[in-house]
Symmetry: C2
Subunit: 240 residues, 2 copies
């Protein structure tokens, strides 16, 4: 899949507009990813200053969503895109919603970091935050790269990783519940870790959504509720 | 705002297509709302059969999303809608994403109902589930009505109610944490209620999103991150 297939138009201005929404999406993605990484680090280090920065910076991600959305609507209204251009614009409209919600989830983690600065550190769960956080941050990076390069294999890889993250999340939650039962005095603090893990799991879901838009963009097929094995099979048919 | 403003087109077929996505959105909304109500009832009654029905029916909501999305893309590609028609199609594309996620949250509540059937009833929290559940179900109903009638006042009302739900949610969570600390044996069961309350709070957020699309549709203004008081003021300017 050639990335430049989106940029052959008689109108030079139209090309520039399509390139612009791709670039802005990348920028917004980078911003959301920094928010996620900073929130995880703030939680692990109990760094209240960094956490407050994350909460404040959320408005930037939000206003970026509105800006790109308006760009997309303008293109739809003026250029009346067809075929792959139309798919691109639609995919970007959807992607920015997920990025905005990733920003929201990062804020939630940052708020838990602030709460833990007050209530004290949790006696458990940091290894899980670091581990699942690392996975999710990588998924987001890969999903954004897949979008930029229209890389179907990378996108499928993100969708597959999400299943693994969901399993690790479930295991971590079970262990934390067991720990809370053994040490009820830690409940409030362990709950902060649990809410943060849940936010990470949601970020993983949004990264998976982003990857699915890439598949839609390349395939022209809506795969949100389709069977993953089927898509991989269609993409790389097994030899007889 | 006259609902029929969307239906004056030379092409009779185009009118029919625009009407169809509105009708299908209403149907999908009704389906999502039934899922939410059934999930709440299943949780309160520990009704495992009803809960399993909710989990199963989620695929219907999902496939409805794909169908309507395809209808919207087809209209964008073939009809190249402008002005308010374009806004309608875009709003519907966004709305179905929220309805699909409402379905997901209803499934999560249903899964907690199934878990509680196994672990036993929670000693606390049902009043809160009933109360916040009632609010959220009403918000969803109002948001869907606001969409069908393009009723800006009703939409603003939904956005305002969401703030109240968020506060009630925070209070309920604090009380449940306190209860867990006093009675650690109940942790697993009380957590099921807490996850369910969080799902309800998310459903409220999605209903608020739906209401905001209505405001966007009527106003042509993106209000997702705007100040609510400002919008209300613009809509009903105070007399001097």
């Amino acid at each position: 899949m050639d990335i430049t297939s989106h940029t052959h138009h008689i109108s030079q201005q139209y090309n520039i507009e399509l390139e612009a929404i791709r670039t802005h999406l990348s920028e917004m993605g980078g911003m959301a990813q920094r928010q996620v990484n900073d929130a995880i680090q703030a939680l692990i280090d109990a760094d209240i200053e960094r956490a407050e920065q994350v909460v404040r910076a959320d408005t930037k991600v939000n206003s970026m969503e509105v800006t790109i959305d308006e760009e997309c609507v303008r293109i739809l209204a003026r250029r009346q895109p067809a075929a792959s251009d139309l798919r691109l614009v639609i995919a970007v409209t959807k992607a920015i919603t997920d990025l905005e919600r990733i920003g929201d989830e990062a804020s939630k983690i940052a708020r838990q970091a602030i709460a833990m600065n007050k209530d004290g550190q949790s006696p458990r769960g940091y290894i899980e935050v670091r581990h699942i956080g690392g996975h999710v941050s990588r998924m987001l990076q890969d999903a954004l790269d897949a979008f930029a390069r229209l890389d179907m294999d990378l996108a499928l890889n993100v969708v597959q990783t999400d299943k693994q993250v969901d399993m690790e999340y479930a295991t971590a939650m079970r262990e934390l519940v067991t720990f809370m039962i053994e040490d009820p005095r830690s409940i409030t603090r362990v709950l902060s870790i649990m809410w943060s893990l849940r936010a990470l799991e949601r970020i993983g879901d949004h990264a998976r959504n982003l990857a699915q838009y890439v598949i839609y963009l390349v395939n022209g097929e809506d795969v949100r509720h389709a069977n993953l094995e089927q898509i991989a099979e269609n993409l790389h048919p097994k030899s007889e």
